[in-house]
């Protein structure tokens, strides 16, 4: 009890010393860096509240803050290393990962490399970032980071192979004696891997995103076993300051795509080294550059490329990744973002208004003409009307003109009703990429972009359905319905077209229904009054007034009589024999209906 106030006074003194070191730490990177002073947590309880556990410091990219647990600083006795610790944390903000976008990109690369053990990505990402920052501070900015590690490692058990390898990498980078950080458990393989890791850190110090895959592949063998991984985590927990740095952030775009550059960086440096060894005598050629690089298409298939041109991750993998980047991310928003990112290249361009002057200039009264004004602006007629005696600057007048613009007649784009079959035969779009949902996203977003209203409806009947509250303009609500999943019934429920929203819709509406062969059983089904659903389809089409299209995953010629009946009503039936053809359909549909405002079919 007596010691506590003394400790708290110590903590305050440490906080003051660290606060005093802050401006200098900023200056190490750049005096123009504008970061707020860290949040000082005076107790571990406060630190836990901020999400800081295990380590004594962490960063948040969401509000560009650094959090320091002063009590743990004292526990680890690192109070004399304020400059190094603060400069390191600033490095996370200015060098790596620096922002949410690059942080997610880093996770993406590391996860592809860590196939099957993707849950280790935050750990590997943190270790890689620390190496890049510390090496820059130690070598380029002459800050003695080795002293901090020597101090911390003196009291830390080094038993796991990952830990030995990681610390041995620092020894390589900074020319420290063997075992000074990595302890006595040395193995030739770890030594060789650490030397390769040091080379990766040096080579990719600037383009660090490109080196992440190589680094993760070096770490891979030390992380396969759960026990090894857990042991390494426990031992390294004091260094983990950026694992959750993007928590609570906005979802960065473009993360669903796996581009070629990423796949090219998923190379094991050991294979590169062996390739250069086997290419003895040919070092002057670029043999090592060609080392063991599998073809991109092979890499794409093993890393689960899907969607247009197999360029995207599966939505389930994407959601898992983004939840690692930001554990508090909302799954609905993530899946919306996923389909939106894929649809973006296929949307119609934003509509533009073209205005043309009706008449070049319209006369609009007069102003005084003064000596010095252009002589051609002098209006002699108006001047003579003021006075027959001309006094420059007094009686002289000039004509004022204004430009009149045409207000062209604006055509209203058709509203869009998108009904998608979400019966048991459809993919869950949250786990696997779904072509119908991708197509629905493209047409819906194009319609919204053109200024139309959209109503989306998922239906798997008999069973469940989910629809937006009428025709709306909210992209998020439309996508939330489309990307949900029901998995009930056998087809799209035609009775959904009896919705009051279609009865009272303002403006013409186009009905788009995406389903398969089973829709004909649904159309033939009868309601309690003995009327076929065909009648509902016909009535809805008439009320909508903007035409209707059935997109069926089927073959032309099947259900010939039923198709003819639909066509007589005015429905257009479009067949796709492979789901991927829906992309081309959606593109053409959006182009036909929504490129330029109100273009009619």
């Amino acid at each position: 009890m007596k010691e506590k106030p003394v400790k708290s006074a110590d903590i305050k003194a440490i906080r003051d010393r660290w606060a005093a070191a802050w401006p200098e730490a900023v200056k190490i990177w750049n005096p123009y860096v504008t970061l707020r002073e860290p949040e000082w947590c005076m107790s571990q309880k406060m630190a836990e509240k901020e999400g800081l556990t295990g380590s004594f410091a962490m960063i948040r990219l969401t509000d560009h803050r650094i959090v320091i647990d002063v009590a743990t600083v004292q526990d680890y006795q690192v109070e004399d290393f304020a400059l190094q610790v603060l400069a390191h944390e600033i490095g996370h903000h200015v060098l790596i990962p620096a922002n949410n976008y690059d942080n997610a990109g880093l996770f993406k690369r590391i996860r592809i490399a860590l196939a099957g053990i993707e849950n280790r990505a935050p750990l590997v990402s943190n270790l890689y970032s620390d190496l890049i920052i510390n090496d820059a501070l130690q070598r380029a900015m002459n800050l003695d980071m080795a002293a901090v590690y020597r101090h911390l490692q003196a009291t830390c058990p080094v038993a796991s192979k990952l830990h030995v390898w990681y610390m041995r990498t620092y020894e390589y980078l900074w020319g420290l004696p063997r075992g000074s950080l990595s302890g006595p458990k040395q193995l030739p393989q770890i030594d060789a891997d650490a030397s390769l890791a040091a080379a990766v850190i040096r080579s990719y110090a600037r383009n660090w995103l490109d080196g992440a895959g190589r680094f993760a592949l070096l770490a891979y063998p030390y992380l396969i076993e759960d026990k090894e991984h857990q042991q390494a985590r426990d031992e390294l927990s004091r260094y983990l300051d950026a694992e959750k740095s993007s928590e609570g952030s906005d979802i960065p775009g473009g993360m669903a795509e796996i581009d070629d550059q990423i796949l090219e960086g998923i190379v094991d440096p050991r294979s590169e080294a062996i390739a250069s060894y086997e290419g003895k005598g040919e070092a002057e050629t670029d043999k090592s550059d060609r080392a063991d690089k599998p073809e991109l298409s092979k890499l794409r298939s093993t890393s689960g490329g899907t969607g247009p041109q197999q360029r995207y991750q599966q939505p389930g993998v994407y959601i898992d990744m983004m939840k690692q980047v930001d554990p508090s991310a909302d799954e609905n928003k993530l899946v919306n973002r996923y389909y939106r990112d894929i649809a973006l290249p296929f949307l119609v361009p934003f509509p533009t208004d073209v205005t043309e002057p009706l008449a070049e200039l319209l006369p609009e009264g007069t102003d005084p003409w003064e000596p010095g004004d252009p002589i051609e602006e002098l209006d002699w007629f108006e001047t003579a009307l003021v006075s027959p005696v001309i006094v420059p600057g007094i009686t002289t007048r000039s004509r004022v003109f204004s430009v009149d613009y045409d207000t062209p007649e604006k055509e209203q784009p058709f509203n869009l009703y998108v009904g998608i079959d979400c019966s048991g035969s459809m993919n869950n779009p949250r786990i696997n990429f779904s072509w119908p949902i991708c197509a629905g996203t493209i047409v819906s977003l194009s319609a919204l972009r053109a200024g139309a209203r959209v109503m989306s409806c998922l239906s798997g009947e008999p069973g469940l359905f989910l629809e937006t509250p009428g025709f709306i303009k909210s992209e998020n609500e439309v996508l939330t319905v489309l990307t949900s999943y029901l998995g009930t019934g056998y087809a799209y429920g035609i009775p959904r077209l009896k919705t009051p929203h279609l009865e009272n819709v303002k403006g013409k509406t186009h009905l788009l229904i995406v389903s398969d062969d089973d829709i004909f059983s649904m159309l033939q089904a009868k309601d309690s009054d003995g009327r076929e659903n065909y009648e509902i389809a016909e009535n809805a089409l008439q009320k909508a007034g903007g035409g209707g299209t059935f997109v069926l995953h089927s073959r032309p010629g099947w259900h010939h009589g039923d198709v003819e009946r639909l066509q007589k009503m005015g429905w257009v039936v479009h067949y796709v024999t492979a789901e991927s053809e829906m992309l081309e359909f959606a593109r053409a549909f959006a182009d036909r209906f929504y490129r330029r405002k109100g273009k009619k079919p």
Partner: protein, 195 residues
Amino acid sequence: MKKAQNVLNVPNVSEMIHHIKQCPAEFLGQPDRNGRSGISTEALVNDTVRTLTADDTAPRPIDITAAKRSLAELSLQQICCWALSHPFFRQIDDGWLRQFFCRGLSEVAPLVKPEQWVKDEERAEELARIIFAACGHCPGGESEAEAADRFDSVNTIKRLKVIEETKAAMERAQEIRRQMAEKAAREAANVYSRE
């Protein structure tokens, strides 16, 4: 030929690395292996040996048989000629030079791109330590054990031998990774596929 060593001031590794990285572009030119065009490595090596042995008129002290050596080795020999221009090497015994130029570089040279010796910090350190080990001196400020351990750390030949020896383990890890990736891709493709 033995020179006085009582005031020998051995440079430390950092100094040698700095010296190696200052290598002029002329030493990095394409070696002339067939007597057509490029730098005559043989002439360069012999000039270096003449300078270090202080015997300016010695007729071709070393025959390096350029035609039999790889371009990488000849390039490394040229870089070594620059490295040996450090004043320290004029103060020490020169008996090691013949062995060094004829046999000392043939194994490591093909493993590293020539420009890496002067661009990459670690390779420059390795070259400095190769030269120190060949001339039988420890870098300034290091004990024999420290120098040997550090040389081990940057030794390309040893590193590659370890990687070769552990190739089976590496390939096993790669195979596990490949199988895991394929399994995940397969599951994703099949589990929820259409009826």
